[in-house]
Subunit: 343 residues, 4 copies
């Protein structure tokens, strides 16, 4: 951390800052500059709360230097984490495609879509049982019945299933039925839920908050790892910007940044990023071309009658196209794999 | 809702959309235009999920017309809601100031600050017992011990106290000790927590999410009212933008917009909006000048050693200045009260 | 356009709005709804200024239905525009790569880089002679001398050259020396410059403004087409968001949206979007995978000593990697070209 | 400037960075930390281009410490600049209100509105002669005829007039007729125009760009001061965010931040920030309460028939209300003026 003093800071003020640093257990190293003094804060383990010094007299600015995350960082673990669910793995050198409806609506619907997406090349089935909805009047999901349908889908198709958990109250049930637990965008900083996920025996997909920085996102993952669960997948799903032609703006550069900063796998959800069906394939291709470890895609056999998010759900034949395209891109890029990560 | 067809939509496609509207129980009214047809969807009670039609063949765009919120809207209830805690009221024609430290650190700290802010003119004491922190390594609050200190503050000073609830697990405890329950920014769309708040016997302060639209925020409040609790205060605390000179960007126009759209009181938290102490008084004055019903301000008698958010906490003498200024502005505006809301 | 009246709008107010519509030469069509009246505005050629009606008594909201752009829209021209410079074409079924330094620094520098990028597969050379710089104290480009160096590069390498024009004062010179004229981000709504570009005999690359919607961007292009110049290339270069891990946020969904809405070619500048060299290749691959017609990339043989934007300039060997990757992606996608645009 | 090295940076890489710093004429001061080295760059006059070092091997991050602006900064000039036009002054201890229509439409219109706003308390008349319009098909202003009408307004009412300049081609004319020249949002980084303004004999109002940081805005003003013109007024007019309930989001904290960083006066345009008439008075009050030096407000005697931006223009009686309110707030705050700027 670097503390920049005001031009007219007095020696007394500088002394007081040095003392404050040392009384917090750190080492202060003043750096006289051309027309102002800066003070380095050294030998700190982990991050120092930068608000602690920014209010001191004579201080102009406090600049964090080291990153606050530790367990999730590539500096802590150099090799990629590979997350496993059943006999499917996410991370490392493979491409994993997860697909299914936004919400589980019935056993017939779930099985129909599952067969479609499996045939097209999906390896994991997704479907919501508990749905976070902006309106209390919207369909909120089938709840535990939905979980049972998901288990049935796994039994019939052999695909591991992933579904969202909304609160502490239904975590046990989700963990029992699903192979992988998803924490949604709106809960990315629900710290109680993150702590619970840290004690889960299931891998966790952590979606990025709508206005979260990558740093905040990695810190949310840090909660889970710190609790003891290292099986975490990060999922970029678009951020909120001034743009309205898409539901969110896919932050494609988050992919190389997360790969550089962290050892955790990163996948992309092009469906929520786009919000409109006709952008989904483009975004999926872009994500794989940018080296995402996988995709999570909404597919519905009858999106015009879907109970939620129909407009962004692909028709089965579109999903086949998507799989064909992204597999082709993934493979052709394999030829240049020696340059990956060097970018 | 208005469904705009593509220029080259066929009569068959138009017919199919009409049929889809009617099979959902609404009335369709096609409106032939210059070079394209639009179709009005009429007699809908509440909001129609606009994703339901946007995927149909020949549809260019679906435009929502009515607002999705109901119980919170001024069309539903014309007169202002006034929220009461102890003998303090929020809303209507008065200005309510809530103040206190970011986190309760000790009984001595809480009581010291409480005496300060009460003397300066605060009516409600705020202080965090359970703290949502970006990092798992930061101070997380005193928990239940903090709640007991808050209760002590109320006993000693007579001020009602408000504190944040983080999850279903500690809601009962918060409700027992505090006079008012706060749902924080990161939990604005924690729908389980909102439902629980709907069953609470305590008034609820609902902070706006960092990237929530006013519509999403009102829908979150709708969850609480729909559950049966009508004592809800909305708190604007800044949104996330590209700006970095402040921690967030105070959306001052949210105040007149919420006053127009809803009957619920709206207060402003200038501390989290600013993030830096030297902007807080300016923002507080602006908020009151824009007709907010109240303020929630962070104050610390020794912010340089505060355990969280010290940089945005006011010194007690600054808080006195703030109170003097905003009271003066509030009173002088009373002279022109016949024009309020006419703006 | 649709005008939504307030619930309690009086028949007189509704009548006044109808009259206002008709006195502007349009047809009004009232649509009685469940609990409020809406009024359609029909038979308008082009866009109606929606501010004209939003202030009338009893009006709740005015909703534009048709898009304001005309000449740039795909509804106006169904087939793709192909822009030509020398014997290179941009648009249609080919992928065009433009590359070169941010600023032309010397003949030797320009020729050295030009040879590199040509060998790697670039077809057009880019380089700034007039540089828009945030600070008046930064290097502002070589000016006309830079233009002459660009002409020399064309003579030596055979590549067409493109460079930015900053104002009306240097447009003639840029037009004389360059094969293609670039209008930069900060000038996207410099309407005088757009009008001048409309009279140019050179193709124009129009970069998207940092916070421009796609609609505003297309309207800026409309100025050029309306002036008579149909040779316009749109260039997405990232938008300003809250994100700081990249200089801007590449709006990848702008590619499919522009392809759907307009017949003009769209290319992507991954260098300015990223701002950091190690993200550029990922973004370039993503852009081509999303079906951009081309790329504009900053390359420098000695970026550590570049006079501007060194940190985002690729080394020549990285640019070779980039070309190899994006060509491979482009070709493999050609196999699935029957599904392009169907997304 | 601080250069943070990667944890595993080699002594050779550190040495190379030190050498690069020194070969640029600065002093390097390595600061060994707990687990990584940082290098301070000292004795730099003005700002160092931070891109120069961020690409060097072993460098993790480059952190600017000093601000890039000089002439506009309060560190350069401690006392407030007061800008004068005729016998009206902007800045210092007074509140200046500028008002008038978005566009000058006719002599009668301009004079009618001018009489209204003068009577209500405006001191400067504003009106557009050259209008920057998103669409080439919208009304573009009366041009030079509009300038003559503005001069007439000054002759008749005695109020100085301000109008926008769009390009180098009409700068002379604007300068001849108007008392003050406005550079609009879309031209904030039109550096040719800024240079021309630096040579103007007229004061300049520089509006903030829609997505400009305060730093970029101050750097744009630096261009004007560097050219020799110190009579510059900064005008905050809202930034682009995800919010849609207002046309832009007024960044109210820009007021205290600019007052702290710069000696130039700062005014606020609540009309463009709001975009809707019913928010304008609230924003105007907030701006004055936050200590803006003035306001620029759109007023029209017949906004329903205004040729541009009618929906955000106040009726004359609303403008009277606005003036009464903001004057009252301004005066009551004078009582606490000893605390201003201490905040």
């Amino acid at each position: 951390m670097l503390i920049v003093m005001k031009k007219n800071a007095t020696p007394e003020q500088i002394g007081a800052v040095v003392k404050a640093i040392e009384s917090n257990g750190y080492t202060a190293r003043p750096i006289p500059g051309g027309d102002r003094v800066s003070i380095g804060v050294l030998y700190n383990k982990g991050a120092v709360d930068h608000h602690r010094f920014s209010g001191l007299a004579g201080v102009k600015e406090v600049i964090p230097v080291t990153k606050p995350y530790k367990l999730v960082s590539r500096e802590f673990q150099a090799e990629d984490t590979v997350v496993r669910a059943g006999d499917v793995s996410v991370g490392g050198e493979k491409l994993c495609i997860m697909a299914g409806p936004c919400a589980v609506e019935s056993e017939l619907q779930a099985l129909t879509i599952a067969e479609h997406v499996k045939r097209a090349g999906a390896q994991i089935f997704r479907g919501g049982a508990f749905k976070p909805r902006t309106s209390p009047y919207s369909f909120q999901g089938l709840g535990e019945e939905g979980l049972k349908i998901l288990a049935k889908v796994r039994d019939v198709t052999g695909m591991p299933v992933v579904t969202e958990v909304l609160d502490l109250g239904n975590f046990d049930a989700v963990e029992e039925y699903a192979d992988m637990v998803q924490i949604g965008t709106r809960n990315m900083q629900n710290f109680s839920l993150l702590r619970r996920a840290g004690q889960s025996r299931r891998p966790v997909i952590l979606k990025r908050g709508m206005s979260a920085t990558v740093e905040e996102w990695l810190m949310a993952a840090e909660y889970i790892l710190e609790g003891g669960n290292t099986q975490v997948i990060l999922c970029e799903r678009g951020i909120r910007t001034f743009v309205t032609h898409s539901r969110n703006t896919l932050d494609i550069s988050a992919v190389p940044v997360v790969r550089r900063e962290s050892h955790l796998p990163i996948i992309v959800d092009p469906s929520h990023a786009a919000g409109y069906r006709d952008q989904v394939i483009s975004l999926a291709r872009a994500a794989v071309a940018a080296d995402a470890h996988g995709l999570m895609v909404e597919v519905h056999h009858d999106p015009d009658h879907a109970m939620s998010d129909g407009a962004q759900s692909l028709y089965p034949e579109q999903f086949e196209t998507l799989c064909r395209h992204v597999r082709a891109i993934f493979e052709v890029m394999g030829q240049g794999s020696e340059v990956r990560g060097q970018g």
